[in-house]
């Protein structure tokens, strides 16, 4: 749909050029695209090993309960059952967690959320395993669940660590400052699920040395290995995570909650053990986006300039800390959005409840605050009688401005340019010239939509995210490039989750070495770590490492020739497998120059360090920032409250386009996920119990829900500290699009729209 637009868009600034066929800037397709389309691409759920056993996990039916007794004897005695493990069978650490080890492998005395693991079974058939898990008798003393995060502060501690996971009281500027215009709002953001298209699956294989190998679609294999090894009571070297095909990942995948029981069963039985989660288990087991409650007060001058922002942000972390601390830092730091705010007082809390667990998901923290601060900007515009885009333009951030965390924005921040780009592009035409039967109205084809009740609305949103880990996380990635027989191989533990890292790695090597045939090796933890596949890390850090390694190989290859001809290596170039000198005197092929040798080089990339936010929420916490502007056009049936997004016009700050086709798909995917968060995606709970943990009850956007996504502008201002000057592109459209859809629904209906996803009753209006 918008591939053409995306390929054409980067050329807007410069002369029209055909994109290169390979190397950076080429629209290289992913190497696995054909296999994935044809359904032959192997995922973890396709794994098989001779004599494998099947695992099943017994999960708590209560959100909060005391376990008084667990009796596994009936299950263990069933024919075909080979092992039953509970908390008593965990040989190493009983708890694990990223940052804080607060989450038990198996609940031993207290169950803290619906679906928490209590025991696991290995049997010779998946059905036997499931029946055996059901045959384990657990006696519960049901406790009152704490499901309202506002009540978590005063509630009895749900965990020995207490209910407050993190508190950041950011204060910046003068608390007495005020403005002539004040707007206030209370906003609620729902629980979005990463809903990967393939549910969790994995295979654990015991090793003869007493270790275990975990074959899973992990997105952070080294961390997962270390957490698992600690629970197994093994050295990290004796646990190996081998990454299989990843069936979709917009959050953490195959977290240790799946891997550790699997590994324990393999160690216990001495047999390979496979686990393939059902969709229900997947919904119950993995981490979701933090449901958030936000209170805002914006003070502005009569001209619409922001003077002060006061905000309170409450993240529902669920039962365990996971990555809530990072999410809270992002939420607090970006609470004012990409606007210049001279005085800001933002207080953020992440609290423990008995709700489903929250954790890392694309755009964490930033998405929730974006929906709120953009709603505030709309309110401000309405109060001042200004155009919503104009109010935003009067306040936008630019390079050199200071964030409320005290950090100066040093990277390109072309926010005004992005906003103007989406504002100035013509609106999509009304379908009045096409036959009425062909109109796609809210409610869909064969739906109940009636043209007379449909109102069109236009809304704007600006969003921002940080790239890489924040607050002093050590970011490092190591890559190896090998050249032999005219073909190159990249070895890097950066997981290809569909984000396109392996395609990018191929392009980087093609660009640097002029070798067309580049392969990317499978990932396992015998390779040096590359960090989790999140926050655009692999484009930046792993891509940087691949480039350095490729450059080192290039020097090894060209140095002897340069020496021989008495020129520096910079004067030689490699294209299409041929090495030529600037003056044409030298011309040889790469194969000849290699002379049967193998060239290897390994390099690391480690961006500049960051610092944690201090007690006042101040600090240079982020390596880089990325921005996006979206104009949403929606049709709302104001009687039924049904919403259809007609078009999303996107302008994004990308630094540099490395692969136009891939970039366009990332933006389209991100916008679509954001539309899900805006309209339908909310994993509902009733007193802590997950309701409808299936894809009928949890409505993901379908092809009919995805609008025309029009990429109107990709601003290529290179970020000098990033390799290639490129910025991560996946997360920021996810963050921005819910706010844009909400703004457009607000414009169409005149309703406040202060809750995401937007419920139909919030989008009805009197004609």
């Amino acid at each position: 749909m918008s591939n053409d637009a995306a390929i054409a868009a980067p050329a807007v600034g410069g002369p029209e050029q055909a994109p290169p066929a390979h190397g950076l800037g080429a629209a290289l397709p992913q190497a696995d695209v054909r296999a994935k389309t044809e359904g032959t691409f192997p995922y973890a759920s396709d794994l098989w090993a001779e004599g494998l056993l099947w695992a099943a996990i017994l999960r708590s039916p209560h959100p909060h309960a005391r376990i008084t007794a667990v009796d596994t004897s009936a299950a263990a005695g069933m024919p075909g059952v080979r092992a039953v493990v509970t908390h008593a069978d965990v040989p190493g650490d009983a708890a694990y967690g990223r940052g804080v080890a607060d989450r038990p492998v198996f609940a031993s005395d207290i169950v803290r959320h619906h679906g928490e693991a209590i025991a696991a079974v290995a049997a010779d058939h998946p059905d036997t395993a499931r029946l055996a898990a059901a045959a384990i008798t657990v006696e519960y003393e049901v406790l009152e669940p704490v499901t309202d995060p506002e009540k978590a502060f005063a509630a009895e501690p749900l965990h020995p660590d207490g209910n407050l996971i993190r508190h950041i009281p950011l204060s910046y500027g003068d608390p007495e400052a005020g403005g002539e215009v004040v707007v206030e709002g209370l906003y609620r953001i729902g629980r979005q699920d990463p809903a990967p298209i393939g549910a969790e699956a994995g295979l654990a294989v015991p090793r003869p040395d007493g270790g275990v190998e975990l074959y899973t679609a992990s997105t952070d294999p080294h961390t997962d290995r270390d957490l698992a090894a600690a629970c197994f009571g093994l050295d990290s070297e004796r646990v190996k995570v081998v990454v299989t095909g990843v069936p979709g990942a917009t959050g953490d995948r195959e977290d240790p909650g799946f891997q550790i029981p699997l590994g324990l069963l393999a160690l216990r039985t001495g047999c390979p053990v496979k686990l393939a989660a059902t969709r229900e288990e997947s919904f119950l087991g993995h981490a979701h986006r933090h449901p958030t409650l936000l209170r805002y007060r914006h003070h502005a001058s009569a001209e619409g300039r922001l003077l002060k922002v006061e905000a309170q942000i409450l993240l529902d972390a669920g039962a365990y800390a996971d990555s809530s601390s990072e999410s809270l830092a992002a939420a607090v730091a970006f609470a004012c959005g990409p606007y210049v705010v001279p005085h800001a007082f933002v207080e953020g809390w992440a609290v423990r409840t008995n709700n489903p667990p929250s954790g890392h998901m694309r755009g964490e923290g930033a998405l929730q605050v974006c929906a709120a601060y953009e709603a505030q900007m709309d309110k401000l515009a309405a109060k001042l009688g200004l155009d919503p885009a104009e109010v935003r333009l009067r306040n936008v951030l630019a390079t050199g401005d200071i964030l409320p965390t005290g950090q100066t924005v040093t990277c390109p921040a072309p926010v005004a340019e992005l906003l103007r780009a989406v504002r100035d592009v013509p609106l999509p035409p009304l379908p009045k010239d096409t036959p009425e039967a062909a109109w796609l109205l809210p409610g869909g084809p064969e739906g109940a939509g009636e043209p007379g009740a449909v109102r069109r609305g236009v809304g704007y949103a600006l969003g921002m995210v940080h790239m890489l880990g924040a607050e002093g996380t050590d970011e490092v990635s190591t890559a190896t490039v090998k050249v032999q027989d005219g073909a190159a191989t990249v070895i890097c533990a950066a997981v290809e989750t569909g984000q396109g890292f392996s395609t990018l790695a191929r392009q980087i090597v093609q660009e640097t070495l002029g070798i067309e045939e580049v392969r990317v090796a499978p990932v396992d933890t015998d390779q040096p770590p590359a960090g989790p596949a999140a926050h655009g890390r692999h484009t930046w850090v792993s891509g940087g490492a691949v480039e350095r390694a490729a450059k080192m190989v290039r020097t090894q290859l060209l140095q002897p020739l340069a020496h021989q001809f008495g020129m520096s290596t910079e004067l030689l170039q490699i294209t299409d497998g041929k090495i030529t000198s600037y003056d044409g005197v030298l011309s040889t092929t790469v194969t000849e120059a290699m002379d049967g040798k193998e060239l290897w080089a390994t390099a690391q990339c480690r961006p500049h360090p960051t610092e944690p936010l201090d007690d006042h929420g101040q600090g240079d916490a982020f390596v880089g920032l990325a921005f996006c502007a979206i104009r949403a056009v929606v049709d709302v049936d104001i009687e039924l409250g049904s919403v259809r997004v007609v078009e999303m016009a996107v302008a994004q700050d990308v630094g540099r386009v490395l692969n136009p086709a891939q970039l366009a798909t990332r933006i389209e995917a991100g916008v679509t996920q954001g539309i899900g968060a805006a309209l339908t995606e909310n994993l509902r709970t009733a007193r802590g119990l997950v309701r409808h943990p299936d894809l009928t009850g949890y409505a993901l956007p379908t092809a009919l829900d995805a609008p025309d996504i029009r990429i109107v502008r990709l601003v290529e201002e290179r970020d000098v500290v990033a390799p290639f000057g490129a910025k991560a592109a996946s997360a920021v459209p996810v963050v921005t699009s819910p706010a844009a859809v909400a703004a457009a629904v607000r414009a169409a209906t005149g309703r406040p729209v202060n809750r995401l996803p937007i419920r139909p009753q919030a989008a009805v209006a009197t004609p």
Binding site: A31, D32, W48, A49, D127, E213, G245, G444, G447, P760
Partner: protein
Amino acid sequence: MRPSWTSAPDRPEDVPELPRPACEHVRYGNTNGQPGHREGAAGLTTHAPHAAQSVTLPASLDEAVAALTAMPAAVPVAGGTDLMAAVNKGRLRPAGLVGLGRINEIRGWQYQDGHALLGAGLTHSRMGRPDFAALIPALAAAARAAGPPQIRNAGTLGGNIVTAAPTGDTLPVLAALEADLVIAGPGGTIREVPVSHLLAGRELLGPAELVGFVRVPLLHAPQVFLKATGRTGPGRATASVAVVLDPARRGVRCAVGAIAPMPLRPLEAERWIGSLIDWDGERGLAPEALAAFGEYVAAACIPDQEGEEQPPPAVLHLRRVVAALARRALGRALS
């Protein structure tokens, strides 16, 4: 032996020089625990091997009834869109299955004194086609609105009725049409039951009984089915309304689906609006009358609860949705 591992997410081919997984016996099979091919040990074709110890595929309705008589614990399955999902989830473990997919006599329809006798095996896709839509437009519209194409290709009319899910899209249409079910039973018995009796639980399917046909009157007048869902793509109805005109009996019949365990008929509202329509003339109604009909239908189907001053917002919204659907449906039927 070289390992047969080919997991490289980006490289289906082998990369021989690289560090390989130490494990020689790991490779990809399919999800059923079979190494790479689907045929394996008997019964291992789903995650639930004990599910179907016997599968019968009768070629006629009589044979199907006989198979069910011979094995009372067996469950009949047509499209399987609901049943097999429950089997795969482990919620249902039928001792045997009687597949109805090969019974040709129930896959089409025939005409019978002013009625259409629809085979219970008609798929939603088939009912959605134009020739069927010319016959029973509301049923065709409901069939087209029912789920994504994969579901419509498999799911059948009879399955929709027998599953009796509150959100079954064809059910309000059948209720509004006052369709009758032709039920085949052991010993060649045939009985007819109004669809509403089965849906309301007033009459039940007996042992070894099968819904063979659905008798639907051919009204030769406009019919409308409208459905409100949560998204633009296929989804379950939050509310649905079927309105059919019956000029011969000078009546309007309306049924509201998805808001209660069975379709609801607002009989008083039907009679009132039927009396307002000039059946011999233009048949049009003033917008106010349409709106009043909508309100009437909504109030009848979602009544105020005893002792409740103001219904909760969700109930108010549902009432508004039903009112809008009923008003729109009648307006379209009369336009």
